[in-house]
């Protein structure tokens, strides 16, 4: 069985964001990088599946500059067998369609039985790449899964819907799944696995070999949002704050009437 898991390196969302000089993306300085949260669930699910079935080969793929290899090593330490690093210093400029086409070009002739991705990235958050890859490859895809089971080529997954309801979906491999928070708790890599990961295959492929399409959209401008309604900020002693707030609530809402 061949499994592919696609991961993205994103800034830690607690980072101090600044804008780049072109004003169309965030600046790379002062950012702490980590694996996209949803992709961690994807890696964990892929590793669990690998452990469950015999003779599985699990490839982890990521697109980005050299720094993403650090994160890929974590995925290898979690249990992926080999890494495919699509080397691209300008990956942040590529739209979901381009990213998906790169992944699809990589996966095209490799006959993966299952592909896992995160449901979205934490930085761009478009939530498109997984489905686009599946559609390009012509395989079924189930998004936002919070539960996954695999037996004899049959996939049973639960999708998370609004309001906490889950939809039970079945399909057959090959298929692609996008993973949501709640699917699992990603493991913490053990030291022997961290050491083993250092020796695992981690191939770098120049993005030009796989990038054959043009973008369909671009981020024209990135900026910090304005605060709604002036966003009155109150600071000071607790007792005073409470009095101020009560006055505001009386003036502006009907709830204390």
């Amino acid at each position: 069985m061949k499994i592919l898991v696609c991961i993205k390196q994103v800034p830690d969302m607690e980072s101090k964001f600044k804008l780049n000089s072109e004003g169309n993306w965030y600046d790379n300085s002062d950012l702490a990088w980590r694996m996209n949260e949803y992709d961690e669930y994807a890696v964990e699910q892929a590793v669990q599946l690998k452990t469950q079935v015999d003779e599985a080969d699990l490839t982890v793929l990521s697109i980005g500059p050299d720094r993403v290899k650090e994160m890929m090593k974590k995925a290898l330490a979690m249990g992926c067998d080999r890494g495919a690093h699509i080397s691209d210093d300008d990956s942040f400029k590529k739209d979901p369609y381009e990213i998906a086409s790169i992944i699809a070009a990589f996966a095209k002739d490799k006959e993966f039985d299952l592909i896992f991705t995160g449901m979205q990235s934490q930085d761009r958050g478009s939530g498109q790449v997984g489905v686009l890859v599946a559609e390009t490859l012509g395989i079924p895809s189930i998004t936002t899964i919070v539960d996954f089971a695999f037996a004899a080529g049959q996939i049973t997954a639960k999708r998370e819907l609004e309001g906490g309801i889950k939809a039970l979906i079945k399909t057959t491999a090959p298929a692609l799944l996008t993973c949501q928070l709640g699917l699992n708790t990603p493991r913490y890599p053990t030291l022997p696995n961290i050491m083993k990961a250092k020796k695992k295959e981690l191939l770098s492929i120049p993005v030009a070999e796989l990038h054959k399409v043009a973008s369909k959209q671009e981020t024209a401008r990135m900026y910090f949002p304005e605060k709604r309604g002036g966003g009155l900020v109150l600071e000071g002693a607790v007792g005073n704050l409470a009095d101020q707030l009560i006055k505001i609530l009386k003036d502006k809402t009907g709830v204390l009437a």
Binding site: K16, D30, T190, L191, P192
Partner: protein, 662 residues
Amino acid sequence: MEFTREIYWNVGSSVGVLIPMYLLTLTAFAVLCYGFWQRVKVYRLGQELNRTDQLDRRIIDTVRSILLQSKLLRVAGPGWTHAFFFWGFLLLFIGTCLIVVQADFTDPLFDIKFLTGTFYKLFSITLDIAGLVAIVMLAGLFIRRYIVRPEGLENTKDDLLMHGLLFAILVTGFVIEGARMAVTELGTPLAIWSPVGLVFAKAMAALDHEALRSLHKTTWWLHLLLVIGFIISIPFSKFRHIFTTSANYLFADRGPKGNMVTLDLEDEAAESFGTAHLTDLSWKDIFDADACTVCKRCQDRCPAYATDKPLSPMKVVNQIGEVAFTSPEANLIETVSTDVLWACTTCRACQEICPASIEHVNKILDMRRNLVLMEGEFPGEEVMTAVNQVEVNGNPLGIGYATRGDWAAELGVKLLSEDPDVDILYFVGCYASFDKRNQAIAKAFIKLCMAAGVKVGILGKEEKCCGEPVRKMGNEYLYQSVAAENIALIKQYRVKQIVTTCPHCFNTLAKDYRDLDFDTPVEHYTVFLEKLLGEGRLKFTPGEAISCTYHDSCYLGRYNDIYEAPRALLAAAGIKLNEMIKSRAESFCCGAGGGRIMAEEKLGSRISETRVKMAAETDASTLISSCPFCLTMFEDGVKGAELEGQLTPKDITEILVERLEA
């Protein structure tokens, strides 16, 4: 008249007596040796560890600790009782040896008798009183154990055997003496040199000599058999502590206090890290279990035990012993249980008080290492998140690393990247860098340094967590990687002196980093400021009198024996302290050590609340500490214990800065 007595009186020193006596004695010693040999084989299952370096110092300290019973005397009641019993019994043992030497060696071989004259009188009265003291102390110990019975003291068959056997040996000793004196010494001037024997003799005076002789002979043999029984039972009962505890003084950890083995993580041959099985332990860890007398002093001081968590350091040590001697294949972590292992705050109260020099903390930490490094297990998801955050942002709080130095901007503190020529590097630590409450301490410290004309620099966003919380949670790998980054950075700036406000950073940089090729001097701010005070560079004006108590942080106190510097600083600022019932080496942890600052306290009651209640009992309105973790715990603790408004947690720096001489 000659002051002496006939040895082997009434029993006779015929071959019929000597041969069975010596045969029995030799057999007893042979069994004793066999018994210990069986145990030595088990100790040897452990890993190698050199505990015979500085042998001369070790021997001197061991002899001193045994003879003075100094480690026991740290707890007065049972300590003195045991000490007097020990001294009494030791004298009796020495006395018996002297008799053997004279009766069976010097007298028959060289015709030399030294148990005569004044020496005999002193010998006689000393042994008599020693015996009495031993009996009285034994009775005291018996009452404590079986009648008063303090909480947590568990009685086993061994305890009953020990009390019974010792009592029987002592009493039969006096019966023998009494019977002999009733026949030979009553009415002689010698009798008063055996006052206790005299009482026994008078009590038996009504019996005729024949009966006395018969009683004497029977009791003599009984006494001998009891002693033989005692010798034989040593390796097979808690009596073994006579040897094992003493030997443990010899093999004691000689510091630096709290030192953990810095694992070689690149070791290709290593298949496992940390402790999961008996064979992962060192021989000393197994030996510790045999040195334990189950005195429960560790348990009495354990903050986890005191707040109804499943951990008792004594039980952990005993469980290792059980596994070692009954099921050496068993999984230690399963035997001890993960809840127990995660509950430890590494406060070191157990280890400091242990009268047997047992090392509790590292056993627990080594098992944590196995859980984290081999299983990827943590006490909870919140800890895993915090550990991940140390990896990503260099702090367990998960705040963007780039803002680490922001607190200092308004004070004009130099970053070493701008100007490395400073008097000291202030290693700020995560809490003082990011936590609003603790930033006040960082700022106060800077103001104090400025007042003393000390040029301070910080690393700002280049600084990372010192690694202490993750190391104590078992993640040696992450610890070593953040430590290496900090070390490389500090070396690059050629720092001459480091000062920390956090005792955890202090202990880690000053001691743990030494294994990683780092030798820059490190001081905690209390020591550093006390020096400035001594040099006259800092002056305080005593402000209004406030009632204060001071909490000794574990990593400043027990780990580094810094008890006076904080108090001296406070005294200089005119603060008088009401000490808590538990202070200095007996201080009660705030609950945050051992990486527990990152963990939710899910079991039992809150350690911090227990501690703030102790502070409130002193009627103090201010609870002063010198550790950001303690302060954080107390800020929560006063809320939980509903002491808000009554008790205000503060750091020493905050008190000092308010009282700086203008």
